[in-house]
């Protein structure tokens, strides 16, 4: 295979490439934060006028809460907010398709590029 000679990239286009990557990085990391996709909202199991008993804390647990400076009102938010693990099958399917599609494309396109690398490096010899 003939040796591939890449084109020279101008300084301006190098700058454009860096800018593209910076924008992409910030979009990937910052947009989910901005759009509220980050983290999960928990479900609050409401109790009026919480006490250690109504929060189902044993005497041993209460002693530790108090050493940490907590009373029932302060501990309420930590104890009563719980995850909801109801599965959205549509979202799960979407995630599988996106991740699966990504890896399939990644390995197939990489293999195509890799064959060019090997052909130029080794030619047809062993």
């Amino acid at each position: 295979m003939a040796k591939y000679t890449p084109p020279e990239q101008s300084k301006a286009m190098q700058f454009v490439d860096i800018a593209f990557l910076l924008i992409a990085i910030f979009a990937a990391l910052w947009l989910p934060l901005k759009a509220g996709y980050v983290g999960v909202s928990k479900v609050e199991e409401k109790i009026d006028n919480p006490t250690w008993e109504s929060l189902k804390q044993t005497p041993g647990q209460v002693a530790q809460w108090e050493k940490l400076g907590y009373d029932p009102a302060k501990a309420y938010g930590e104890i009563q907010n719980r995850y909801d693990y109801t599965i959205s099958w549509g979202n799960l399917g979407l995630m599988i398709v996106v991740i699966g599609g990504y890896f399939v494309f990644l390995f197939r396109a990489s293999d195509k590029e890799y064959r060019e690398v090997i052909a130029e490096k080794f030619g047809d010899g062993k």
């Binding site: 990557l21 647990q61 940490l68 990644l106």
Partner: protein
């Protein structure tokens, strides 16, 4: 300034990274990055599944990382080049995969560095406030830690990792001292595991909670694979990398077990699951001012050691992309005096600072975990391709890991479980991040790849891979 990829070998002597590191530095780099995971982050797995779930995933994710360390030791002791897994991907899978792997590394380490800075800043602010300081903001501490550590990395890897060795050892010692100070052999005296973790609250969400807990279980060990980033700077990669990585993994497995035992025995699981400072809070719960002081410094030092190693690793991954023309070659400059990839280090610093200001701790941790997870998926497939393309005996390996392909299969299965765990609570974030990787992959494959010199991507003195 000499730029490795821009200068012609015939006219200018290349400036390369220095080979000055030994196994202790490799240990310090790996454990230094990861140890902060014992001081914060792992405990969010208790929030997702309960205290017992946090212990179960400590072991199972330990298995995942043991597989990572075994696989990594074999491939990196054979492909000893800066960029670690990036260089592996370049030689075994192809340029596009290498580009993606480098981005995983940069994202994982930069967001880990952000998490470290937030942790140190938040703890210093909290303790200062408890001691009477008024109106204190954590931002100056974030800036100070990131900028000072970037400067340290700019000045040279040997000094950076010597400092890391010392502060990592001190932080590790604080965990061991805490463990023995609470009389672990006498449950009920200080520790109250039987009262904190009961049959009623051990698995509050059942087994689905155990699966969900995998997400933050990753944080017990995330970053141990960073040892490979120093491959081009160790004196004997074939010896130092396996020793440093495997001893680091053993160190972390012990630290994780001690940490869970002490923290779960002193803190109600609901608090354990949401606090940013589980070991510091465990010290508070003992009522001992000495242990409180010790865990304050242990937490701060572990965060600084981790951020220090992350700057080192992210800078080298970015540098490697520039050197191979996957990114503009401007990034491939090596400092003529300090022999460090200084432009890459300086370029990533404001990105870390920006995210330290706009994200909070568990958000930054989640970003880091997602990139790590994509990387581990790659590693499980990579080792199988490596053994297929160059079977044992066809090339000289620095280390050959046993039981192949069992570690690779275990790793892949645990990765799939962890994807599902991330889906349970953070699925939209995972999908958004993968869409980002799809977009930049298309950009690379259809545009940027034109600037890459094909044959130069394969630099190892190996025979042609089988099947090509």
């Amino acid at each position: 300034m000499a730029t490795a990829a821009e200068t012609s070998p015939s006219t200018v002597q290349k400036i390369s990274l220095l080979r000055v590191l030994g196994p202790a530095h490799v240990w310090a780099l790996g454990v230094g990055i990861v140890l902060v995971g014992e001081f914060t982050g792992w405990n969010f797995s208790a929030d997702k599944g309960g205290a017992l779930a946090a212990l179960i995933v400590c072991w199972l994710v330990g298995l995942l990382y043991t597989s990572v360390a075994m696989i990594d030791s074999e491939v990196t002791s054979t492909v000893a080049a800066a960029g670690g897994q990036y260089a592996q991907a370049k030689h075994i899978v192809g340029p596009l995969m290498a580009f993606n792997v480098a981005l995983y590394l940069v994202f994982a380490y930069t967001m880990l560095e952000v998490s470290d800075a937030i942790l140190a800043g938040d703890l210093i602010t909290q303790v200062a406030t408890e001691n009477g300081a008024v109106g204190l903001n954590h931002n100056p501490f974030l800036v100070l830690s990131i900028v000072v550590l970037a400067w340290l990395n700019y000045r040279g890897i040997l000094m950076t990792l010597n400092i890391n060795f010392i502060i990592t050892a001190l932080a590790y010692a604080s965990i061991v001292i805490l463990f023995f100070s609470v009389q672990p052999w006498s449950q009920g005296v200080v520790l109250k595991l039987g009262e904190m973790v009961t049959p009623e609250n051990a698995l509050p969400y059942g087994w689905i909670g155990v699966v969900a807990a995998f997400q933050f279980g990753i944080w017990y060990y995330l970053g141990i694979e960073g040892t490979t980033q120093a491959a081009e700077e160790v004196r004997s990669p074939a010896r130092s990398l396996p020793y440093g990585t495997m001893s680091g993994m053993i160190t972390l497995l012990i630290a994780a077990a001690l940490t869970w035992y002490v923290a779960a025995s002193l803190l109600p699981w609901q608090h354990l699951g949401v606090t940013f400072f589980p070991l510091y809070d465990a010290a508070v719960a003992t009522g001992s001012p000495i242990l409180k002081f010790l865990m304050f410094w242990g937490t701060v030092l572990s965060a600084l050691a981790s951020a220090n190693g992350c700057i080192n690793d992210a800078g080298r991954a970015w540098f490697s992309l520039g050197r191979d023309r996957y990114l503009p070659t401007w990034f491939s400059a090596v400092h003529p005096k300090y022999r460090t990839p200084y432009r890459s280090i300086l370029f990533l610093m404001p990105i870390a600072l920006a995210f330290a200001f706009i994200s909070d701790l568990n958000q930054a941790i989640t970003f880091s975990i997602l990139s790590g997870l994509l990387q581990y998926t790659f590693m499980s497939i990579n080792i199988i391709m490596f053994r297929n393309k160059w079977p044992l005996g066809s090339i000289r390996r620095g280390y050959t890991h046993p039981f192949h392909p069992l570690p690779a299969v275990v790793l892949l299965v645990l990765c799939v479980v962890t994807y599902f765990a991330v889906f349970l609570g953070f699925g939209a974030q995972l999908t958004a991040m993968v869409i980002f990787y799809i977009i930049v992959s298309l950009w690379f494959h259809f545009y940027r790849y034109q600037y890459v010199r094909r044959g130069d991507q394969f630099t190892m003195p190996w025979p042609k891979p089988r099947g090509y």
